[in-house]
Symmetry: C2
Subunit: 343 residues, 2 copies
């Protein structure tokens, strides 16, 4: 097996820097669009054969060093009892935002086997079809990020409802966060038992918090997740988006790998994280629109800045954009392998 990804997660020596891309199964691939044109997004997530098919596409096309389960961070939120739909323009919409005790009480901590078995089936198909070519990453949204969707009822600009509940009703807010945390842990545990060889926790909205609130209110739930997953022999990656201001807190979360966004100074990040964890990231997804020589220069820059890390997994600093020219993504993956090769 190409285990460079798992080795880098653990800080072991690798012949070259492994690379995968957030949202690597996605609209920038014609092969993905072919599948997606026949079913809606949620159906694609919930049909194991199709979800597995699109998961494998970037492994074949880009030659990345890891596959990541095709799914959505809001799948467990639907299983908690909220209505979920995806619109092309506004993104996800969740029925009836949860902002009261009655609303929080109605949410359940779902059993993955019962209500999200399609995810486990997808993982099983993938492990079989990957034939150990590359490892398979499972994932979940982080408690805080899922809370923002649950409270706002979708995406948001200022996250006012969420922060209002956090400040005005901390008791209720914490009950909600505990419920989500239990859900995330159960969900990722089930994914690991089904065959996920690493898991990533996406904290897409970590970066809208002050360091004060992140540390005092949100961070304990991140640590709880990392700690609960520690007992499995599977690397845990924590990706906190827009995390420059909270990185000195984030680094203490207990995950094996800290994923950082493109706004982070990678050199400073490596200094801050030290040998506590490996680092993942962090090319600006927009660099994939540059000419090849500039892509090459920027890949080299990220590699240089990650020197001294316990381990480095190359990635974009955010999801690959739908408009990305696929040949540039292929070029970038090859550049990472070529420029980092040690022999």
């Amino acid at each position: 097996m190409n285990d460079t990804f798992l080795k880098a997660c653990r800080g072991e020596a690798v012949p070259y820097t492994p690379v995968w891309l957030m949202r690597q199964a996605g609209r920038y691939l014609k092969e993905y669009q072919d599948v997606r044109s026949k079913v809606d997004f949620l159906t694609l997530c919930k049909t194991p054969e199709l979800a597995a098919k699109v998961t494998l596409q970037p492994v074949d096309i880009l030659k990345v060093d890891a596959a990541i389960l095709f799914s959505d961070i809001l799948i467990p939120v639907e299983a908690m009892g909220m209505h979920l739909e995806f619109t092309d323009k506004k993104g996800p919409i969740l029925g009836e935002p949860v902002r009261t005790k009655a609303g929080v009480d109605k949410l359940v901590i779902p059993d993955t086997e019962d209500s999200m078995s399609f995810v486990l089936d997808t993982i099983k198909i993938l492990r079989r079809e990957l034939e150990n070519r590359v490892p398979l990453i499972g994932f979940s949204g982080a408690p805080w990020t899922l809370a923002t969707y649950i409270i706002e009822g979708g995406s948001s600009k200022n996250f006012l409802h969420t922060k209002r509940m956090m400040y005005q009703n901390p008791g209720l807010f914490n009950v909600l966060l505990e419920k989500i945390t239990a859900t995330v842990i159960e969900y990722l545990t089930a994914q690991i038992k089904a065959g996920a060889q690493a898991v990533q926790i996406f904290d897409s909205w970590a970066g809208i918090l002050t360091p004060y609130d992140y540390e005092n209110v949100i961070f304990p739930y991140v640590k709880t997740c990392a700690k609960a997953l520690k007992k499995f022999d599977v690397p845990v990656i924590y990706f906190a988006n827009d995390c420059s201001g909270i990185l000195k807190i984030v680094k203490k979360c207990g995950a094996d790998v800290i994923g950082v966004d493109w706004r982070v100074d990678m050199h400073e990040a490596v200094k801050k994280i030290g040998k506590k964890a490996s680092v993942q990231g962090n090319l600006d997804p927009c660099v994939l629109f540059a000419p090849h020589d500039h892509i090459e220069e920027r890949v080299q820059d990220v590699l240089n800045n990650a020197e001294g890390a316990r381990g480095h997994i190359f990635n974009l600093g955010h999801g690959i954009l739908p408009e990305t020219p696929v040949e540039n993504a292929i070029y970038m993956v090859d550049a990472v392998h070529r420029l980092s090769r040690k022999d």
Copy 2:
């Protein structure tokens, strides 16, 4: 005159920490809504008597230590030759995004006296009506931030068009940035000559850049602005939004004051900035939705973290939100004065 604001900008001793709020003239004030209900937003910006009237409202109501000209960062973009309108839902829309050499060539470097005299008239009225109660701040968008609006044609999610031009056509991109920079310098110079006693450069979108691009491509234009304004005896504030990852670059811009957003760890910011400049910020605007005792706690936290700064001007870390209860804003301003008083 209450000159605590100007003194703190210069790092001189003050009896208490001065405070003003970004967007302090705005929709959260009933008095503002009364004026705004009779005219559209652009007309309000362009009618000196009305713009002056809403500028003064928060000085009277909140007891802030500075007034800031009521206007919009896109006013000079309109004067450069683009059609500008404001929609309630989508924010600003600029006609025909500029993405080609022909488009860039068509933009002019406007003369403020000729095409934005209403701004200068507003400043003159304000200086007269303020009667030196508090200083008046003028402002402009920063070159990069204005460039994003010019290239995208409005707000954006990923700023793909802007970054694409930056990567694919750096020559054209730099011609555009030079034109905008000349505009910003002329515009702020005219404001200072009309009576602005400090100027703030708003780099609202600085934080979407990698440190690499910010430093190599964008930062020279910031320095050019700061340097050109240095010859006037008027403090220059540079506010870079979402700047945690680039603060160690930002601090070298040459401005008298560095404004930081709420995501920044203020304690780290003060350490980074050192005695090079004063610091402004950075309470999360959403904290104004918390109960008074929590607002008090968070004001104290910001004050504590700003200890050791050359000077500190208290502010929100972003514009005050329209939904903000005005009594909480009043409470906050009073808390800053009360908690920071040194005698």
